[in-house]
């Protein structure tokens, strides 16, 4: 495998980006530090030494009290994203909320401690504080916690991005693998070798008694194989193509079981220009014939219907079954269809297959109605 044609591996952070981010962060740290120091030095004289340097018990209680607040803010931050219009202002708001709430939380911790450690701790006197001390303490606390919060956010988002990046790498690899295998099984499952050899045997049997029918069966089989090959090279086909393929297949099968098999299909020419995954119906049609004929010798009716409902395309195939037939586990054909739908449409498409009545089985594909992009300017395409 040529490594050049694989999707490019993500590069390490560009030097310019690194310089910009760290530069900005350092400006932030410096400014906060300067502001903090200025506040402290200007107002230090106004503080009681006790209020500034609370003992370790109080500091622990303070931080424990702040932890839930911090977690709530980081949780919100990790979900807010970093979009210019909504994310960034929201992040800023969260940081401000945290920094603002820190001061009352600290005071609350001091009061709790005063109540709990009564007698053991030399409580700072409740004497009249000089005016301005409260404001200075608040702004110092705000700036200091704003800084700390920013640090934490950087760590959290950094780790978050690392994880996202690692996950996306894994997803890309998984997607590539699923694509390849789904395509391979799709190619393999389009027409079972069993069916092909049975058809060849039917033709062989017709050569002597009815050479003309044998000749036209060879031509029909050639048409079928031609379409099979061309559809196998494409991921999507028009619904009309898909229906004519099903018709060809069913007409050939009717040559084998003419007296038992009746089929009804919508007119391929009257279908809207909608696209479906190539040969997505084929495993269902093949199943309908196989399971329809098995287990009894009565007539089998196979009915294919296609319609649009609220911009979703629904393709349904109903066949007669033997009433005694036990629904076996999901065959390889059905799971292949399911997998291809999942790879291409995720949750927007589904396949359901079940016994509709005592003697009929139904399989139904629901998928988005895929239309061709309407060209903006006619003739503005290829030169």
């Amino acid at each position: 495998m040529n490594t050049e044609i694989l999707p490019p591996a993500p590069k390490p952070i560009a030097l310019r980006t690194l310089l910009m981010i760290s530069g900005l962060f350092w400006v932030y740290v410096t400014l906060s530090n300067v502001l903090y120091a200025t506040n402290m030095s200007v107002n230090a004289a106004l503080f009681h030494a006790d209020a500034m340097y609370a003992p370790w018990q109080v500091r622990i209680v303070q931080h424990v009290l702040l932890l839930p607040l911090l977690l709530i803010c980081y949780w919100a931050s990790s979900r807010a994203g970093w979009g210019m219009r909504r994310g960034l202002p929201l992040q800023l708001l969260l940081a401000v909320i945290f920094a603002v709430l820190c001061y009352p939380a600290m005071n609350l911790a001091i009061h709790i401690c005063m109540w709990y450690f009564q007698g053991h701790w030399d409580v700072p006197s409740e004497g009249p504080e000089p005016s301005g001390a409260e404001r200075a303490a608040w702004s110092a606390s705000f700036i200091s916690f704003f800084l700390t919060y920013g640090f934490g956010v950087a760590l959290v988002s950094g780790f978050n991005w690392y994880q996202l990046h690692r996950d996306s790498e894994l997803r890309a690899a998984a997607l590539e693998r699923v694509w390849t295998t789904a395509r391979l099984t799709a190619l393999r499952m389009q027409l079972s070798p069993h069916t092909l050899f049975n058809l060849l045997h039917t033709i062989r049997g017709q050569i002597n008694p009815e050479p003309e029918i044998a000749r036209s069966m060879v031509v029909q089989l050639a048409d079928l194989l031609r379409r099979l090959l061309s559809a196998g090279q494409r991921d999507f086909s028009l619904i009309s193509e898909e229906l004519s393929f099903a018709r060809m297949y069913l007409e050939l099968q009717q040559q084998r079981f003419g007296d038992r098999l009746t089929v009804s299909l919508p007119d391929a020419g009257a279908q809207p220009a909608l696209w479906v995954p190539s040969l997505i119906l084929q495993p269902l049609v093949e199943n309908a014939v196989l399971h329809g004929l098995a287990g009894h010798d009565g007539p089998v009716d196979i009915r294919l219907e296609v319609w649009l409902s609220a911009d979703r395309l629904i393709m349904r195939i109903v066949n007669t079954t033997a009433s005694s037939a036990v629904a076996a586990g999901e065959g390889i054909g059905l799971s292949n269809v399911r997998e291809r739908l999942a790879v291409q449409f995720g949750a927007r498409a589904s396949l359901s297959a079940y016994r509709a009545e005592a003697t009929s089985w139904m399989a139904q594909i629901t998928m988005p109605a895929l239309r061709e992009r309407a060209p903006a300017t006619p003739g503005g395409g290829a030169s």
């Binding site: 590539e176 036209s216 193509e241 895929l370 992009r373 030169s383």
Partner: protein
């Protein structure tokens, strides 16, 4: 009608002869295994109709048809196992086209159109015959466009099918491939390699590790002082080749200029 059969395979000639023998107005006056012999015989004594195989060892049926003077060439029916020659066949003024294998029904349908053309003596009849031919050519062209691969892409949450002939540029973008179509941009949930595979009917050129463009949409090529190529696409998008692909792009463009 006098008819020639040109096919290098004996059994194939016999199948065609049997079909012709069932028709009272058709007489096979020559069978050839080599196109060169057939060409000589046609020039000496032109038949009304030639059944011409396309894939032959020494000289292809297409070459033989081109060697004939279109003014008074016989009616040509190409007989081939490949359906992708249809457009080309009608472009070298073939009257019809027969896919191998064929049965009596298809042979007769084809012959009906040939008779219409052969027996067209009045202006109205000739006009009708040309219309039939045009309709066949249109059908072949439409079919070629319909069978061209489409890429499933997302445009603001809505899934759409995009004809590969309209895609100007493929760019790898994390888990997606971005398709540039005119001034619009779409996301396809696939890999660059897979998308490039789907684009194989278009002349694609890789200009960097993550970027492949459709040469049909290149409107302008410029070079920077460093030697990188700057290409302007029909939708107005400008892309430049990366250093690693500079030489490959240059070689490709030089080939185009010759």
């Amino acid at each position: 009608m006098k008819a020639f059969i040109v096919d290098d395979e004996r059994v194939a000639r016999r199948a065609l002869r049997e079909c012709c023998e069932a028709e009272p107005d058709l007489e096979v006056t020559g069978e050839f295994a080599r196109a060169a012999d057939a060409l000589e015989a046609i020039r000496r004594d032109p038949p009304h109709l030639i059944f011409l195989d396309i894939e032959m060892a020494t000289m292809s049926g297409m070459q033989l048809a081109r060697a004939l003077d279109p003014a008074d060439a016989p009616l040509i029916v190409f007989v081939t196992a490949h359906d992708h020659y249809a457009r080309e066949a009608f472009e070298v003024s073939a009257v019809d086209y027969l896919l191998k294998p064929f049965d009596e029904t298809r042979f007769r349908t084809m012959l009906g159109r040939v008779r219409q053309r052969h027996g067209a003596n009045t202006a109205a009849e000739r006009r009708a015959a040309v219309d039939t031919l045009l309709e066949q050519l249109q059908r072949a062209t439409r079919k070629a466009a319909e069978t061209r691969p489409r890429i499933l892409a997302d445009a603001g949450g809505r899934m759409q099918m995009i004809d590969v002939a309209q895609v100007e540029l493929l760019e790898a973008d994390r888990n997606y491939v971005r398709l540039r179509v005119g001034k619009e941009s779409f996301h396809a949930r696939t890999t660059l390699r897979h998308a490039e595979e789907a684009m194989s009917s278009q002349p694609m050129l890789r200009i960097s590790r993550s970027c492949v463009l459709n040469m049909n949409h290149v409107r302008e090529v410029n070079r920077t002082l460093r030697g990188d190529f700057v290409l302007v696409l029909s939708g107005g998008t400008t892309v430049s080749s990366s250093q690693g692909y500079r030489d490959k792009v240059r070689m490709h463009l030089e080939q185009l200029m010759i």
